[in-house]
């Protein structure tokens, strides 16, 4: 019974993660501007990987392997937003015509 629950929960998580990753890949090819594409890619890097690795953690139960997977999630969640931040910062710094891509929001 508990093994079945484990399997179903893990499979659901992995499926959701794969869907998120596919969406982010679609977004990377669909969007035209760097910052939009970066937004899509960052979503896959964080949420998709969290879901997939979470599913693997559920599969393996309490073990050293799941601890390592948890550490992988921590590492990726620390590093991948920083790299996205650096890409965005570089784009803002070097693109002179960035106003063209920004929409003015009136509150």
């Amino acid at each position: 019974m508990i093994a079945w629950l484990q399997f179903i929960l893990g499979a659901l998580l992995i499926t959701a993660g794969v869907v998120v990753l596919a969406l982010s890949l679609f977004g990377v090819y669909r969007f035209n501007y760097v910052l939009n594409r970066m937004h899509a890619a960052a979503m896959g890097d964080t949420l998709g990987i969290l879901l997939v690795l979470g599913g693997l953690i559920v599969f393996s139960g309490f073990s050293a392997l799941s601890l390592k997977l948890l550490l992988t999630i921590v590492m990726l969640w620390l590093t991948s937003p920083v790299s996205s931040h650096l890409i965005g910062r570089l784009e803002v710094h070097i693109n002179e015509k960035i106003d063209k891509h920004l929409k003015e929001v009136n509150h």
């Binding site: 590093t79 920083v82 931040h85 650096l86 910062r89």
Partner: protein
């Protein structure tokens, strides 16, 4: 106290040095000096002098014109016929070299045994011996570590020297030296000024995260190195991890802050690389003189699975990591501004 010598000018060592430097000994210099002083009182009248001057100017002008004509001709030749000739020769040489290499490769391939036969070297007793007796002979649980640092340590010696030579040639090509008086040259100042755009680094997010991650990466690299004979890993992979950690640190905090640490300097690079390569060569280059035979090192192998086991593999892993880590780190500042 050093002995005072007042006949230094005529000592053999000084004469040898000056002969090396100028190509003339003291005696010859004296002779030249005497000739010059004697030849001076040779007065000419003013008109003679003027005529001589005019003649000399005329000669110089003719020489200059001749030279320019020759240069023009050479330029014409090298841009029209010469460049075509060079291009044709270059292509012919390329084709010839390619054909030669292909011939050599095909001949050596035809000497090889057929693929997938039972008596091939892949299936012979060497690999079987590595797998069966590797643990007892080298004491290393990680069979790859035992192979590359014990059975084939001589090959790895060459590999680490390849890394060293790569670092040396990059330094030779990219490093900018001080000039003769010890002052920075114009190029160096230009590179420094270019680099100032990226200095100081003030990205707080990157700095905080790198402060958090760099120690973990270094620790993981040390673990990979020290466990080289127990689990997958070893000197080269550990060096890659630790070099990446150092590059991340420099990227986050800038070269000016990093160069305050002694660890990042060129001097440390020199000594660490030298010590590691010298240790490795002393430990393993005997096979070069022994005709690739194994020599018993008389170091107890210990129990397989302990940290202190497998004889020389652990210290050699450490020396390999020193070389590859320093190489990987030194490439970053060299490619960025040509200096440490």
């Amino acid at each position: 106290m050093a002995k005072l010598r007042n006949n230094y000018e005529s000592s053999a060592w000084f004469r040898f040095l000056s002969w090396m430097k100028k190509g003339s000994s003291r005696m010859e210099r004296d002779m030249i000096h005497a000739l010059e002083t004697e030849a001076l009182p040779n007065q000419r009248s003013e008109t003679e002098q003027l005529a001589l001057d005019r003649e000399r100017e005329e000669k110089e002008r003719r020489d200059r014109e001749n030279e320019r004509a020759i240069q023009d001709k050479l330029h014409l030749w090298s841009t029209r016929r010469g460049s075509r000739l060079v291009r044709v020769a270059y292509r012919c040489a390329a084709v010839l070299i390619c054909v030669a290499i292909i011939y050599v490769l095909l001949v050596s391939m035809s000497e090889e045994p057929m693929f997938g036969q039972a008596e091939n070297p892949v299936n012979n007793e060497v690999s079987a011996r590595y797998i069966e007796d590797g643990l007892t002979e080298t004491g290393s649980v990680n069979i790859v570590g035992g192979m590359i640092l014990d059975y084939r340590a001589f090959d790895t010696l060459g590999e680490s020297h390849v890394l060293f030579i790569a670092a040396c040639s990059v330094m030779l090509l990219l490093r900018m030296n001080l000039d003769k008086n010890g002052r920075p040259t114009r190029e160096q100042l230009d590179a420094e000024a270019d680099d100032r755009k990226y200095e100081p680094h003030n990205d707080v997010i990157l700095q905080k995260v790198s402060n958090l991650i760099v120690p973990c990466l270094l620790l993981f690299g040390i673990y990979v190195v020290l466990n080289g004979h127990l689990s997958a890993g070893g000197g080269f992979s550990g060096g890659a991890i630790m070099g990446a950690a150092l590059i991340l640190y420099v990227n986050a905090h800038g070269l000016t802050k990093a160069s305050q640490h002694k660890l990042f300097g060129a001097k440390v690079f020199k000594y660490v690389t030298f010590a590691a390569l010298a240790f490795y060569s002393l430990a393993k280059s005997y096979s070069f003189f022994m005709g690739a035979n194994h020599l018993d090192s008389h170091i107890p192998l210990g129990t397989p699975g302990n940290i202190l086991s497998a004889g020389l593999i652990l210290p050699m892993n450490i020396s390999v990591v020193a070389v590859s880590l320093k190489k990987k780190y030194s490439f970053y500042p060299l490619f960025r501004k040509g200096d440490f």
